[in-house]
Symmetry: C2
Subunit: 196 residues, 2 copies
């Protein structure tokens, strides 16, 4: 599998993406309308529709946008030390979202719509594949360097993502940001127990 971060994302209108971000945080997914996004954009709905035909298309582009930003932040991680790199990736997945609970609420709504909207499901799958690819690369690197045990890297990666997604879901459903800290600690314990 090629590094998915090398792939090209479709062109996005950055200002509309920022407007969508603000509108989603304020109104959530169900109450989001092109009109509300246009209001944040400071232009007419026609100006939004010039770039995106439907709300679904716009939100699919927004999910691409989030993934792209995540890819950028992963590229900014400079350390190649497997233990440190794994810690930093898990921090990005479970500590950083604590800064933005409103976006997490909107994202869980969109995730719950994946069974009904192929464009959303495709993005969530891509997103998951990309993050698993990055985690697996770190784990395999650690195995090669002899700092991690010779584990089934694919399974460990899926296990860690299960913990990540559990923490995110619980934080939103139970209205409890400490669920992300619990998940971070669980991921640390799980990695410690399986990798060393």
């Amino acid at each position: 599998m090629a590094d998915p971060s090398e792939r090209e994302f479709p062109e996005q209108n950055e200002e509309i993406m920022q407007a969508t971000y603000r509108a989603l945080r304020e109104h959530g997914y169900a109450d989001l309308t092109i009109k509300r996004i246009a209001a944040e954009y400071g232009k007419s709905t026609a100006a939004v529709h010039y770039y995106y035909d439907t709300k679904e298309e716009l939100l699919a582009a927004f999910l691409d946008h989030l993934l792209e930003r995540f890819v950028d932040s992963i590229h900014a991680v400079e350390t190649t030390d497997p233990e440190k790199r794994l810690e930093l990736l898990l921090d990005m997945l479970l500590v950083k979202p604590q800064e933005n609970p409103d976006l997490s609420v909107a994202l869980l709504e969109m995730r719950s719509q994946a069974p009904y909207k192929d464009a959303f499901r495709d993005r969530f799958k891509q997103n998951d594949e990309y993050i698993r690819y990055m985690l697996k690369a770190v784990i395999n690197h650690g195995i090669d360097e002899g700092v991690f045990d010779d584990v089934d890297a694919d399974h460990v990666t899926r296990a860690l993502m299960t913990i990540v997604d559990g923490g995110r879901t619980r934080a939103v459903v139970l209205d409890d940001l400490s669920a992300l800290e619990t998940a971070r600690e669980t991921a640390r314990e799980y990695a410690e127990a399986t990798l060393r």
Copy 2:
């Protein structure tokens, strides 16, 4: 904390609960209407409204109904052996839902609405508290019996529920029932590593 399974549930109309179950599996949450539930019930919408004023009230009762059924099935677990009992509880949480993916889809939709509907949030919190209470009782019993290490039972319980919720979310969002098996295996590994 008293055993939450001792508390009284509000009276529910069993036939309407069954009709809601079928309607949810068929239509999902967003497209569910009292009309569709009435169609499954085989009576008029007025007959449904006689018991439940609003769709939200009816669905809150349905969440009570699910928890009640879960409480019954936990009471049916006869073994008091801590290791076996923990395995059985995790099976109920992660193996049994594999039989009913359509209900899981509707439940994730309802979970994503918890930030907007207090009646849903209250039920999901109660549900979570009850399951954590049962898991904690097993872990504490195992510690007393000397088969488990003297761990922080509250944290281990929350960690296990993080894995459970992660597996459930992933199964729906990624349309991949094997996510529940991965979560079951992760819960086994986590329990093994922390409890022994």
